[in-house]
């Protein structure tokens, strides 16, 4: 099972000081969190993609390419790559390039984005969101799997005798996850192709998340990729830790209360009760995360959000140290102890290459 961190790359003021990092500082610090994640033994670092302030992640493969050069072991991914507004040809080229540079330490997660105006800014219509995700991804798959592609669709100029270069490393395309919080069509898409399905598992009650994952698992089996419990599931989660639970709550509260996504709605306590948000001691975070397996079945990837909302950089690095030093070692052991033998490991470049995947 893979454990890692994922970030949206937002810039926000620290409520205590009112000061926000510059774009330059935020980017450099984000890189440091990735390096720290590798240092403490985490498996995955993933970042989002946004094309508007207050985010700094408009160019994920540039950032990930830099991290590739400064790391040797950690797998790099996205959370998510916009399959709706990016040209699938450019995604095919960018991520195949990254895959070569990283010697295969790359996968990616497809998403539709959550900012309405991004569609018109990139010449698209948000009402076509699902159709764009379906058509663009169908083309992306062909570009990675067929050396020469003739193609015609609704959203992009046609292709005749087109070869996307570089070809995927060892002829094995990067593994793809499809991320969606609330669109059953995306769970269906992931199931159809036998790709991974990722639920960010933040903001929403577990009953909802369970329906999405159950739908994916059921349809994965329906499309003949194997039993439902062998479908490839990833989950997110947001954590904040201190040695003592009450310190974690007290420190996290001002960030929660001022957050553009959490603030001014249900209280921190209500949100912790109704959603998987976990604020407390390392042991509490362990217990809460182990519960995910009870709720959603055995799964392959767990990503934690530990930064953003103006959290100070030192506190973010400490979260990663808690994860690597205390939380993830226990989770690895506990998850492994309860996992039946037929549950697949998370796919990697090496495993896909060995399996002769196309």
């Amino acid at each position: 099972m893979h454990f890692g961190i994922f970030t949206v790359g937002d810039i926000a003021p620290d409520p205590a000081t009112g000061r926000a990092p510059t774009e330059h500082e935020r980017m450099k610090r984000m890189i440091e969190t990735a390096l720290k994640a590798e240092e403490v033994g985490l498996d995955v670092f993933a970042m989002g993609e946004h094309h508007n302030p207050p985010f700094v992640t408009s160019s994920p493969t540039t950032l990930l390419g830099y991290i590739v050069a400064r790391t040797s072991r950690i797998l790099l991914s996205t959370s998510t790559t916009l399959i709706t507004t990016n040209d699938p040809v450019k995604i095919a080229e960018d991520f195949a390039t990254l895959q070569h540079l990283a010697d295969g330490r790359v996968d990616l997660m497809m998403g539709r984005g959550n900012t309405g105006p991004v569609y018109p800014w990139f010449g698209k219509d948000i009402r076509d969101g699902i159709s764009l995700a379906v058509e663009n991804y169908a083309l992306l798959r062909r570009l990675w799997r067929e050396d020469v592609v003739d193609w015609q669709g609704r959203f992009r100029t046609p292709l005749q005798s087109f070869t996307a270069t570089p070809r995927p490393l060892d002829g094995v395309p990067p593994f793809v996850w499809h991320g969606s919080i609330r669109s059953p069509e995306i769970a269906e898409q992931a199931a159809y192709y036998g790709d991974g399905f990722f639920h960010n598992n933040i903001f929403w009650p577990k009953e909802h998340t369970r329906r999405m994952i159950d739908l994916y698992r059921t349809r994965f089996e329906f499309y003949g990729h194997g039993p439902a419990d062998q479908a490839i599931v990833g989950l997110g989660g947001q954590v904040y830790m201190r040695r003592k639970s009450q310190d974690a709550i007290a420190e996290f509260r001002p960030f929660f209360d001022n957050s553009p996504v959490y603030g001014h709605g249900p209280s921190l306590e209500e949100t912790m009760e109704q959603t998987p948000l976990s604020v407390g001691s390392p042991q509490e975070i362990i217990d809460r995360t182990l519960q995910f397996r009870e709720d959603f079945g055995d799964y392959q990837r767990q990503l934690f959000n530990v930064d953003g909302m103006g959290l100070p950089h030192e506190a973010v690095l400490e979260q990663i140290e808690f994860l690597g030093g205390e939380v993830v070692p226990v989770l690895r052991k506990e998850f492994a102890a309860s996992r039946p033998a037929h549950i697949p490991d998370p796919p990697t470049h090496e495993s896909l290459k060995a399996a002769g995947a196309r």
Binding site: I130, V134, P184, E188, Y192, F203, M212, T218, P266, Q274
Partner: protein
């Protein structure tokens, strides 16, 4: 056949004149539905009871458990009676919030559902609020709003000739709602997690 009528009252006071009107409408509708040969159960939601949850849902994106129950009651009902006080020439914001969140959760919730609309106000001069604000709201949500809407002004609750007029309008509106309920099959609440075959998604592109 067993029918359910959901009542949504936007009154803020207790007792509220909106609730008073809603109860009168519900009692009349219950009687009319029974006369057509159906069993009927009335289930009432006061938006005031869900005030915090409504705002939280707007901010968080998901409805709290109790509110979710009220929304499901409305979505699953055979008919809806919706009554709002008149605030600044329109429905109250909290009343609107209830239907905003309902639409967020299930944008098909009121499609083809018989709806009886009512309103209260501090003066009879507000009475067109039903035609100018409330009816378009439910038309947008694709409800089937019965032709008679019922506005109750202060003088409708007392005076000499007025009570008869209010009672007459209530009975006429309730009879129209009952006919619309009676001639429909029970509503089918769509499961949002019902799979769409991927071939259909590909074909839609």
């Amino acid at each position: 056949m067993k029918r359910t009528i959901a009542v949504v009252s936007g009154g803020l006071g207790s007792p509220s004149s909106s609730r008073l009107l809603a109860d009168r409408l519900a009692a009349a509708a219950e009687r009319e539905v029974r006369e057509l040969g159906d069993e009927v159960e009335v289930r009432v939601a006061e938006v005031r009871d869900h005030a915090h949850d409504l705002v939280d849902s707007m901010v968080s994106g998901y409805p709290a458990t109790e509110l979710k129950g009220a929304l499901e009651t409305v979505a699953g009902a055979d008919g809806l009676i919706a009554v709002t006080p008149t605030f600044t020439a329109s429905y109250s914001g909290l009343f609107k919030a209830f239907f905003d969140v309902l639409d967020m959760v299930d944008d098909n919730a009121l499609a083809d559902k018989p709806v009886l609309i009512g309103a209260t106000g501090g003066t009879a001069r507000h009475s067109l609020v039903l035609e100018n604000a409330v009816r378009p709201l439910f038309a947008y949500l694709r409800g089937v709003v019965v032709p008679t809407s019922v506005f109750a002004a202060p003088e409708d609750w007392g005076g000499t000739a007025a009570p008869d007029l209010l009672a007459h309008r209530i009975d006429r509106a309730a009879a129209q709602l009952a006919v619309e309920i009676h001639r429909r099959d029970a509503p089918v609440v769509r499961d949002p997690f019902e799979p769409t075959p991927f071939a259909d998604l590909l074909g839609a592109g």
